[in-house]
């Protein structure tokens, strides 16, 4: 019995259900245990690996928790100033139209400080992929209110809960950019269950395929948890996300092949 549970006996071809993609580096992730960033990183790299486009893919890391994304993804990457990734991606794609260009951005980066760059890159229909991780908080700087923080939600700069009368409403930027003629594929997904991970991966794959087909801008929002910022245990934060974030940010495709989903 004991003999059977040794590593070497388990690591056999027939038992192999998953291996770490070789496009993730060996660097230990800097994300909090339970955070959705790591999973999102992995599935992007799986897509790049499966499409065989490592040598043609250039990513852009944001300012925020994913500021060090380039440490974990084994591809050429640039580190943007806060919110400016879509502007960089615009130039990169225009100058190297044969390459696959994606930005990886959080809610503060994409929907607050970088709103103008986001909207205009989307409106021009740049042939790029934007991955938008929305956890409703500024994680890196210690849990401040984000543009996507829910009404009533507590953060370090909305300690009594987000008061929309004085702090404004959360911004549904994904619905907003879906209205623009330049966006081709807009979807909102999550990575808290294996089924959702598979769906998100499929969406990311589609987003990269769209670049190949020169279809215009693909935008994949990943609604994620921030257990540290929300001051919850990982499992509890995912439950809270399902109960509170998903009703406000419903999952599913918003725009397919340039047409809004009715």
């Amino acid at each position: 019995m004991e003999e059977n549970i040794k590593k070497d006996n388990i690591r056999k071809e027939e038992n192999l259900v998953y291996i770490k993609t070789k496009l993730m580096t060996d660097k230990v992730l800097s994300y909090c245990p339970g955070c959705g960033h790591g999973t999102t990183h992995r599935i992007i790299m799986e897509v790049v690996d499966e499409m065989g486009i490592q040598s043609e893919t250039i990513g852009i890391a944001p300012v925020g928790c994913a500021v060090l994304a380039y440490e974990f993804m084994n591809i050429d990457m640039q580190e943007a100033a806060h919110g400016r990734a879509p502007a960089m991606a615009t130039a990169m794609k225009r100058l190297m139209p044969e390459k696959f260009i994606f930005s990886y951005q959080g809610d503060g980066d994409l929907a607050a400080i970088g709103t103008a760059e986001t909207i205009h890159a989307c409106n021009r229909g740049e042939n790029i992929t934007i991955i938008f991780v929305n956890n409703g908080i500024y994680g890196m700087t210690g849990g401040q209110m984000a543009p996507t923080t829910l009404p009533g939600m507590k953060s370090s700069t909305s300690p009594y809960g987000r008061d929309v009368a004085t702090m404004g409403n959360p911004l549904k930027i994904t619905e907003l950019i879906a209205q623009l003629p330049g966006t081709y594929f807009v979807t909102r997904q999550a990575v808290h269950t294996p089924a959702n991970v598979r769906k998100t991966k499929k969406a990311i794959r589609k987003a990269f395929e769209n670049q190949k087909l020169k279809k215009g801008l693909s935008f994949v929002e990943v609604v994620s948890n921030c257990n540290s910022g929300w001051k919850m245990a990982p499992v509890q934060s995912n439950e809270w996300m399902v109960e509170n974030m998903f009703p406000f940010y419903p999952l599913g495709d918003i725009k397919i092949e340039g047409e809004l989903v009715k």
Binding site: Q54, S55, E56, T57, I58, I60, A61, V67, L68, Y70, N74, I75, D76, M77, Q78, E79, A80, A81, R84, A87, M88, A89, T90, A91, M92, R94, L95, M96, K99, A116, E117, H120
Partner: protein, 360 residues
């Protein structure tokens, strides 16, 4: 074969960029430099050389487009005027930190704030001292003719790539708007993908199996490594200061006094020299062409031979601080200038020389 044209300084920048093998221009309209993008859009450089031209949504976007393109090893540029250049300081600082070659053209107008659309030289500090956050410098070239507007585009790109550093052409509204004859070099080709891989091996062109992944960033959270990076940057700036000083001396051999002036002010001083010499005042002109690196040693040498120096600038007196640091202190050194978009007349410059230096 050289080609002779009559055009505005701003247009000369654009034509020279196409001919310098520039890969991309990203800009946002602002007076007095809008002709740069207008000329490019009209000229369709994509058909001539493959050069991309894009009107961005803001100067913030323009400079970050330049960042993204520069990080791919491309020859990319933007242009603006003072308020727009202030917005670009974030991106310029990031590019200095990430050591990216690029060209930023500033056709200066009077400030502060929205100021005026008339020419000024009040962005000298911002250009030469590192206008954004952090310890850095950008190579700063100051043209004083339409010809130099054209010539400095290729030069700025070459210096930027030589040192992996942003370069700036610091012009002003007068030179941008005035028309003169200008001779253009033949086209030089844009970099091929092969050349980019060979000459800029750090560029993010896609990780191939034969090399490690390339990362373009200005971030290093480890203070010891960040300090080392800063030390490396400073060593580069010392090298630039040693190798790249450019200047022009006009009738300085017999001069008892010199004007120190760049750009439009240098043009005015040339006329002022004529007026002064008619009065029997032996005055010459020292014209810094690189404002960073500043010609310190040459100013120092000159200061040993003359009785006084007048720093003539269309500002409250910015370059004079560098002149004072460079020159021997036993001579009279004063500033004369106009602010808010006023261009001084040659007669006023001579009068200032007589009052502040000779009679002072």
């Amino acid at each position: 074969m050289k080609e002779l044209r009559l055009m505005k300084g701003n247009e000369a920048i654009s034509e020279a960029a196409i001919r310098a093998g520039c890969d991309g221009y990203f800009g946002y309209p602002i007076t007095p430099q809008s002709e740069i993008m207008e000329y490019l859009m009209l000229e369709k450089p994509e058909e001539r050389t493959g050069m991309i031209v894009l009107q961005a949504e803001s100067e913030l976007a323009s400079i970050n487009m330049v960042y993204g393109g520069a990080a791919c090893g491309k020859r990319v540029m933007t242009s603006s005027s003072s308020p727009g250049i202030s917005l670009m300081q974030e991106g310029i600082s990031y590019m200095a930190g990430a050591e990216l070659p690029s060209l930023v053209v500033n056709v200066v107008r009077g400030g502060p704030g929205l100021g005026t659309i008339q020419p000024s030289q009040s962005d000298y500090f911002q250009a030469t001292k590192g206008g954004g956050h952090g310890d850095y410098h950008i190579i700063t070239l100051a043209p004083s003719s339409v010809q130099e507007m054209a010539d400095f585009v290729g030069l700025a790109f070459d210096l930027a790539f030589k040192y992996r550093n942003p370069a700036m052409i610091l012009s002003d509204g007068a030179i941008g708007q005035m028309m003169e004859k200008v001779e253009f070099d033949e086209h030089r080709p844009r970099f091929t993908n092969e050349e980019i891989r060979k000459n800029t091996p750090w560029a993010t062109t896609g990780k191939t199996p034969d090399r490690e992944r390339n990362i373009i960033t200005s971030l290093d959270l480890d203070p010891a490594r960040q300090e080392l990076h800063n030390i490396k940057l400073q060593a580069k700036y010392r090298k630039i200061e040693q190798n790249e000083v450019r200047f022009e001396k006009i009738v300085c051999d017999d001069a008892e006094y010199v004007f120190v002036a760049y750009g439009t002010s240098a043009r005015i001083c040339q006329k002022a020299i004529q007026l002064a010499r008619e009065k029997g005042i032996k005055v010459g002109l020292f014209r810094p062409i690189t404002l960073y690196p500043f010609p310190k040693n040459e100013i120092n040498e000159l200061s040993k031979k003359v009785k006084g120096m007048l720093s003539v600038e269309m500002s409250a007196g910015q370059m004079i601080e560098d002149v004072l640091l460079a020159a021997e202190r036993n001579i009279k050194i004063e500033h004369f200038g106009k602010m808010g978009g006023i261009i001084p007349s040659p007669a006023e410059v001579v009068e200032a020389l007589e009052q502040k230096i000779i009679g002072g």
